[in-house]
């Protein structure tokens, strides 16, 4: 038997890719969970096909899952995978360009038939034509070996072939010295409940894959990634959509309010509805409305009635909600609007990520319409951002826009589960005193009282027409209108009072400051860290608050020679910074439905450094 070596690596990125029917997302998730249990820091990137159901074996149908695991901090799923498992030619075709030169390539040879090669657009067989010479190629008949391993279970052919992803998983476990226990337990507990036979077969496939790595002559090396230093606590993986849902749940508890979600399904936001609809036992009411307008309007009704009111959507849906957002603003009711950004304009690239709704969030309504805007930076951070959105909405009696994006929404990362009783409560005060009640009176945050139906003596009428200061009666007075426009603006401005000082990562002053927002956090942080490691005087500021901006931001910006703003759009935050601070911010754009790579950020910053 061949001697096998074990090599220690600091980090590795692995991508599983196959047809949409091949179960790559499940494979990726299993690998992720096992990796997390093994104590690595990690980040993942699931990549679904845009088409509903593209024909099997075609480029359009390729589904991928990338996982970056490390013994150090991990910020992104990794630019270029070190290992690519491709279950068919189309998966190879789509993903090979990303593979690191010299990377490991595990290919399911059974799928490399002439027909499949043609479907994937190959003129010749890459297994034979030498085009893969730059990689370490491991051709494995994954399908055949799986079928052999599970022959005695008695599944029909179609079901049997489906087990091949667990063979691949087993093989990957062997390669990275991961224990099988977690996946075995999952198969035996979760999968077995639905289909005992399939569970049995997958178990065998998993073990067979592992054994194949152990015994097959072609594999000479396996790898070990030591544990990372991770803050103690209880962890689980969450996607950004789960993070938002759980954050809202937590805010419900922290505020004591009843939750109401009014929404209409739209990719990639729908999962928030799916998640929240599961918490009926906690009192969450979800309302699947007839359209996005009814979604937000029902939430406005719930806010008026005293609920923790939420509506969720994505770009085109946000456009439809704009008129009603202004009603919420005029009514001065708390409301959280979650917008999961996707590729635009119009229907655009609905399954891809982008950061191009910032301007819409800030300005997309008639009249002077100041609404707080905040953004989440990672799947786990969606939890915190959702709580922050609720907190602002209630303290200032205002609609709040929370921006996430498709990358955060579907991506996942290990998340340290907080103890709710350690989080600050969200104070809520319902007005009950009829004496001197002024529907549009204000406290020192300029918030008006929340006086809900059912409270005796506070009967009052509100609406979308301009309101008289204090009384809230309809007023057509010009002076009052200007006063109210300014009060509404000032109310939002005062939210800056609770924004913590801007956190500058890296040099406190110096050459290039990289300013980002939202889901680009990981790539920017990793890119800047690399340059910091190389001794450059650069820094990174990542904005949670886009409106109002932090009070100290201008001062921070002016401490650097150059401000670089990488965005997955054509320069929206940079417009804002230029306007507000009159600095010649340089915009670095990518609008390809994909996140930044660390290397792209590093290269862009270097270019600016050179230009100084």
């Amino acid at each position: 038997m061949l001697e096998k070596h074990t090599e220690v690596l600091e980090a590795v990125a692995i991508r599983f890719a196959g047809d949409s029917g091949d179960g790559m997302q499940l494979t990726g998730t299993q690998f992720t969970e096992t990796t997390a249990l093994a104590g690595n820091d990690l980040a993942t990137f699931p990549d679904y096909p845009a088409e509903i159901r593209a024909p099997a074996g075609t480029i359009g149908g390729v589904s991928g899952f990338q996982l970056h695991l490390s013994s150090k901090d991990v910020f992104t799923p990794g630019d270029e995978p070190d290992v690519l498992v491709a279950m068919n030619p189309a998966a190879l075709k789509v993903n090979l360009p990303d593979l690191k030169p010299g990377g490991i390539l595990i290919l399911n040879t059974e799928q490399f038939s002439d027909k499949n090669l043609e479907r994937a657009g190959y003129k010749s067989n890459p297994l034979e034509d030498g085009s893969l010479a730059a990689y370490r190629v491991y051709p494995v008949d994954i399908t055949g070996l799986t079928l052999k391993a599970i022959a005695d279970v008695g599944l029909n052919q179609r079901a049997a072939v489906r087990c091949k992803n667990f063979f691949a998983l087993g093989l990957a476990y062997w390669m990275f010295n991961r224990p099988l226990e977690h996946s075995i337990a999952w198969i035996e507990q979760t999968m077995a409940k639905k289909d005992a036979l399939a569970a049995q077969a997958n178990l065998k496939a998993l073990k067979a894959g592992h054994a194949y790595g152990e015994t097959a002559e072609i594999f000479t090396h396996s790898y070990v990634i030591p544990e990372a230093k991770i803050a103690p606590g209880k962890y689980k993986n969450i996607t950004g959509n789960e993070g938002v849902a759980l954050g809202l749940l937590a805010a419900m508890q922290l505020s004591g309010l009843d939750m109401f979600l009014g929404t209409y399904p739209i990719t990639p936001a729908t999962d928030i509805l799916h998640h929240l609809s599961k918490y009926k036992h906690l009192g969450v009411k979800t309302f699947q409305a007839e359209d996005e307008i009814a979604g937000i309007c029902s939430a406005i009704g719930a806010a008026y009635a005293g609920g923790l009111a939420v509506t969720t959507t994505s770009g085109p849906g946000l456009a439809l909600k704009s008129e009603a957002m202004n009603l919420a603003l005029m009514l001065e009711l708390p409301l959280v609007i979650v917008n999961v950004q996707r590729g635009g304009p119009s229907t655009g690239l609905p399954t891809k990520t982008e950061q191009s709704d910032l301007m819409q969030a800030l300005y997309g309504r008639n009249g002077e319409s100041p609404i707080p805007v905040i953004a989440a930076r990672s799947p786990g951070d969606c939890f915190d951002a959702a709580i922050e959105a609720v907190r602002i909405a209630i303290r200032s009696m205002t609609p709040v826009l929370l921006l996430t994006d498709g990358y955060l929404a579907n991506g996942s990362e290990p998340w340290r589960i907080p103890k709710l009783d350690e989080l600050p409560r969200i104070p809520v005060h319902f007005h009950t005193e009829p004496n001197g009640f002024q529907p549009y009176g204000r406290d020192d945050r300029l918030a008006r009282p929340w006086a809900i139906p059912g409270t005796p003596g506070l009967e009052h009428r509100i609406g979308g027409l301009e309101k008289a200061n204090l009384t809230g009666a309809v007023s057509y007075d010009g002076g009052n209108h200007e006063l109210m426009c300014k009060l509404r603006a000032e109310k939002i401005r005062r939210i800056a009072d609770i924004i913590p000082p801007t956190e500058v990562h890296g040099a406190l002053d110096g050459d290039v400051l990289v300013v980002g927002w939202g889901g680009t956090y990981g790539a920017i942080r990793a890119g800047v860290d690399k340059l910091l490691g190389d001794g450059h005087r650069v820094a990174h500021v990542h904005l949670r608050h886009l409106n109002p901006l932090p009070a100290d931001l201008g001062a921070v910006l002016h401490r650097f020679k150059k401000v670089l703003v990488p965005e997955l759009n054509l320069g929206q935050l940079s417009h804002l910074l230029r306007d507000r601070y009159l600095i010649d911010a340089v915009s670095y754009n990518k609008v390809q439905g994909k996140p930044f790579k660390e290397s792209e950020i590093a290269r862009a910053v270097l270019a600016e450094l050179e230009r100084l």
């Binding site: 104590g39 689980k236 309302f287 309007c297 009967e459």
Partner: protein, 344 residues
């Protein structure tokens, strides 16, 4: 678990309420002679009789002359945006099923821009009382034809006559599965409060089409039905279980001809027992009645349909109760659910 953040003030005593408790200090801003005044008066008249504490009543409207209604009701109220009142009211009602939630809307507000929310609220059987003031015109924007204006109507926006064929709002409400559907005229001091009260007591969505006169932009649209002189000839008062009779002395009736089409018959010669009998629970009959249209037929007023079906917010409450019984778990449990691991 700490105490509820919600106010725990006791409800006021509804038996002490009178009409003037529902009047606000704001003077209504409708044109002189507008039918909206009489509707307001009738609503203010019946509310004290419902046994509902004033603070538990909410009026939500859209935009239009009719939609200014909440300003004149001394209850909770919202004058929202055009066409969206049913959606807003749905949120109020779903969150707080205990409130009595009313929607006031116009033919434009409910059937033009708001048509979709209107039919969806009805099909869900959301327990809302929807009062639609039908003056067959856009009043607030100063006189354009509406989805209930007659075809060929000349207005500012249709100088050559409206090419649109109108909706029959009762038909639309019925097809939207509304469980309570009725009609009354603004100045019908008997019929209007009667249907208002039945609507209020109905558990589920209740829709009332109120024929309303707009003396400025569409004067007299419903005169044939409200004018004392012509009323008897044109009004068909619906009564559950009673044959369909009308005319000054009930001398005329409605029957089916052999092609299952309505005919007006002379009761004496035709025989009362061969008349159609009103049945509030028969939805096809209700639809049939909605197709009796002036001038070929008398206009039915009263309750077209009234059936029981669980209301949306009740079903939601039931689901929550069932879920709570099935699963006892805290928010913390929810956070910790799923595959977890612990780093020491």
């Amino acid at each position: 678990m700490t105490a509820s953040v919600y106010p725990t003030v006791p409800a006021t005593d509804p038996s002490l309420l009178s009409k003037k408790d529902f009047q606000t200090e704001v003077d209504p801003r409708w044109c002189p002679g507008c039918g909206d005044y009489s509707i307001l008066a009738q609503v203010q008249r019946i509310l004290p009789e419902l046994g509902i504490p004033k603070e538990q009543i909410v009026f939500i409207s859209g935009i239009g002359c009719s939609s200014r209604f909440p300003y004149y009701m001394n209850t909770y109220g919202m004058h929202s945006i055009h066409g969206r009142a049913p959606a807003i009211a749905s949120g109020v009602k779903t969150l707080r099923p205990g409130l009595s939630v009313w929607v006031v809307t116009g033919d434009g507000d409910a059937l033009a821009i708001g048509g979709n929310h209107f039919i969806h609220a009805l099909r869900r059987n959301m327990d809302l009382k929807i009062l639609m003031f039908n003056n067959r015109i856009y009043g607030l924007t100063k006189g354009q034809y509406s989805p209930t204006s007659e075809q060929g109507k000349k207005t500012k926006s249709s100088p050559a006559g409206a090419p649109d064929y109108p909706f029959n709002p009762i038909s639309v409400a019925l097809s939207a599965e509304a469980t309570f559907v009725a009609r009354a005229a603004d100045i019908d001091a008997k019929g209007l409060p009667a249907v208002l009260e039945r609507a209020a007591r109905h558990k589920g969505s209740a829709y009332i089409e109120i024929y309303q006169n707009c003396p400025i932009f569409n004067d007299g649209a419903h005169d044939y039905l409200t004018d004392r002189k012509t009323k008897a000839e044109h009004e068909l008062r619906l009564e559950h279980g009673k044959p369909l009779r009308f005319g000054a002395n009930g001398e005329k009736g409605i029957a089916l001809d052999t092609r299952m089409q309505p005919v007006v018959v002379d009761v004496a010669t035709y025989g009362e027992d061969r008349l159609l009998v009103h049945d509030e629970q028969n939805d096809s009959l209700a639809y049939f009645l909605s197709r009796l249209v002036h001038p070929a037929f008398p206009t039915p007023v009263g309750v077209f349909r009234c059936v029981e079906r669980p209301s949306y917010e009740q079903l939601v409450e039931d689901q929550l109760t069932a879920a709570r019984e099935r699963k006892v778990a805290s928010v913390q449990d929810a956070l910790e659910a799923g595959e977890t691991w612990t780093v020491a």
